[in-house]
Symmetry: C2
Subunit: 340 residues, 2 copies
DNA sequence: GGCTGTCAATGAAACGTTTCATTGGTGCGA
DNA sequence: TCGCACCAATGAAACGTTTCATTGACAGCC
């Protein structure tokens, strides 16, 4: 039979014949308690099956030993490696990770941020659907919880850890321009946040540097919609002046590949292809896809490490730190000069 | 300037000129407080920027409104969809999800289970690296936290939600046997847990039903090792009597495909291929891979729903519930009769 | 030998809520 | 008009820790 009532520190103290304070210090491995007593307390605790109450501890110590993570979509494979690495670092630092899914809905984001406040988390790592949503920014600026923006940047003085999406896209587009492509499609996510915005800017800058005019109809930024990759690619590819190359976000690529297959276009003969974010889909495709690569796990680990540093006060908060992680272009067999 | 000290319910009560209890009831939207007072409390709370302390609430109410999730590997794409769906259900039910990564290490699993106890979680959904690890089972059987096993089953009377891995593998192997394959390789994860064990049993049963002897060298169960897929496939394929078909777990498939490519084998001409777990890699491969399919999200949602039902007491705990979700074989173009 | 300093251990206050027994006031039926 | 039931609101106890000022004992020093 299980005891009906929870064992508290009081029972342990009584059983060991010592005071509450003593038990507390034994539990927390603080010094200043004699060897014999320590043993007595420990064995009493064991005998009773005592488990300290986190709620009481965190209420008293004003620390939840927990960190909130808010991402737009956990199921996104690009995120899951990142999230895994963040958890690893946080756990090792003695913090637990609470994971929430905002599904890119600003109202849910606000709700989650409120929740993080109530939970008195020691820190949070967040992704925003729109970097400039006023309601969200207000909550954020009033928050006193150490925060690290993740794959996002803000006008607010917030620390951030992000991949260098600008350089990544710039490399990809420049590479294709160098191969003599003049009509390059870009299929990615919304410009309301860093990744899409940086890619759009890089796309334009690379074209400008090469003296090639930009055709707005070759850019699609609604990658978060279901089947967006398919629709965007299909629309571009059946247009009167179709692109000869496509730069595509990893999440849009499955849809894009379906469109290509539907239209029976051969890669790279008819169409060159670069994927942003190197996944199994890219490396295992036939032909293997040239891709912009970065280490997903590193982004997560860096975000978690920065947050831990902020929590411990090791990093001064006077001026926001922005960590940008590098990308590289992995050349495979999905690109060629455009057919003449 | 931010206030140096946290606003508590006491300040709100003072400012609104009411008692603590009244504020508490307003905050918790309980009835029995007049309209005018309610407004006064609300506006006082707003003015002061009051945010209730979760720690205090959960200490008093003995509920953490949180659920722990322990998976072996978050980065595993098969898990991430599942985890996402579980989070969705739990969040909607008013619970937060704490995600932890056991990395399949029994010692870390035990540590995490202890943590879940201390945190007084209202429930937990867990994956075990070995279903029969005695130390883990002891912790589990002494735990009073409602628990749902996830893709695992135990000799302990624990509720579980899992995919029907047995039928899935049976379908795949039978299909290949029907195509006249006589040497079929199986590459998957450890038999110490449900998925690998069920697949091994199904493999043997299907062979027995077809009157085909089983060759143990055609089974590999160390899919959790890095590059296991590659090594297992390579070893089998270069052996004197290589398999003519391979049934491969989704996580091992990238490695297997690399081995196939290295050996320049054509699929399905030289080798038939079935993937267990239908991912983008399978559907986008050339040729598209025949796969055992199930809905990842449904498994997570079902686990979360069962757990919520247990927490609320809607389901009686006298006898464990085992929910098994169906699989189907999706026929694509990676299988053919063996070359003669 | 008295004083001081050190160390182990104690006991009570404090953390911020919820809950519950009470109080005070109001309306209604007898 | 009294008593009763009802309702809004109060005040204090309780939840399970940590922390901090205090006590008691003992050794070292002048």
């Amino acid at each position: 039979m299980k005891k009906a009532t929870r064992i508290t520190i009081v029972e342990v103290a009584r059983r060991a014949g010592v005071s509450l304070g003593t038990v507390s210090r034994v539990i927390n491995e603080k010094e200043g308690v004699g060897h014999e007593l320590r043993e007595r307390v420990l064995s009493a605790a064991r005998a009773l099956g005592y488990v300290p109450s986190f709620a009481a501890q965190s209420m008293r110590s004003q620390s939840s030993r927990a960190v909130g993570l808010m991402v737009s979509d956990i199921s996104n494979p690009l995120f899951s490696a990142t999230v895994g690495a963040a958890e690893e670092v946080l756990y090792r630092g003695g913090y637990n990770m609470i994971l929430t899914n905002s599904r890119d809905r600003p109202d849910k984001e606000k709700e989650i941020l409120d929740l993080f406040q109530r939970r008195r988390f020691d820190g949070m790592i967040i992704t925003l659907s729109k970097e400039e949503d006023p309601a969200t920014l207000r909550v954020l600026s009033e928050s006193r919880i150490p925060t690290v923006l993740f794959e996002r940047e803000s006008t607010l003085p917030l620390d951030s850890v992000a991949t260098d999406h600008y350089s990544g896209a710039h490399q990809a587009v420049s590479y294709l321009l160098n191969l003599a492509h003049r009509r390059i499609g870009l299929i990615t996510v919304t410009q309301a946040a860093l990744p899409g915005r940086a890619r759009g800017l890089a796309y334009a800058a690379a074209h400008k540097a090469a003296g090639v005019p930009v055709d707005a109809s070759l850019m699609s930024f609604d990658g978060f919609l279901p089947d967006a990759g398919y629709h965007a690619a299909y629309r571009m590819l059946v247009s009167p002046r179709p692109p000869t190359a496509l730069v595509v976000g990893a999440n849009q690529m499955p849809g894009v590949l379906k469109a290509i297959r539907t239209l029976k276009l051969s890669v790279p003969k008819k169409l060159s292809l670069v994927q942003i974010g190197d996944t199994d889909v890219a490396s295992l495709h036939q032909p293997p896809l040239t891709a912009v690569r970065w280490e997903f796990a590193k982004v997560g680990a860096a975000a978690a490490e920065l947050l831990l540093a902020k929590i411990s006060g090791a990093v001064d908060g006077s001026r926001p730190r922005r960590i940008v992680l590098p990308t590289e272009l992995v050349l495979r067999q999905s690109c060629a000069a455009p057919a003449v």
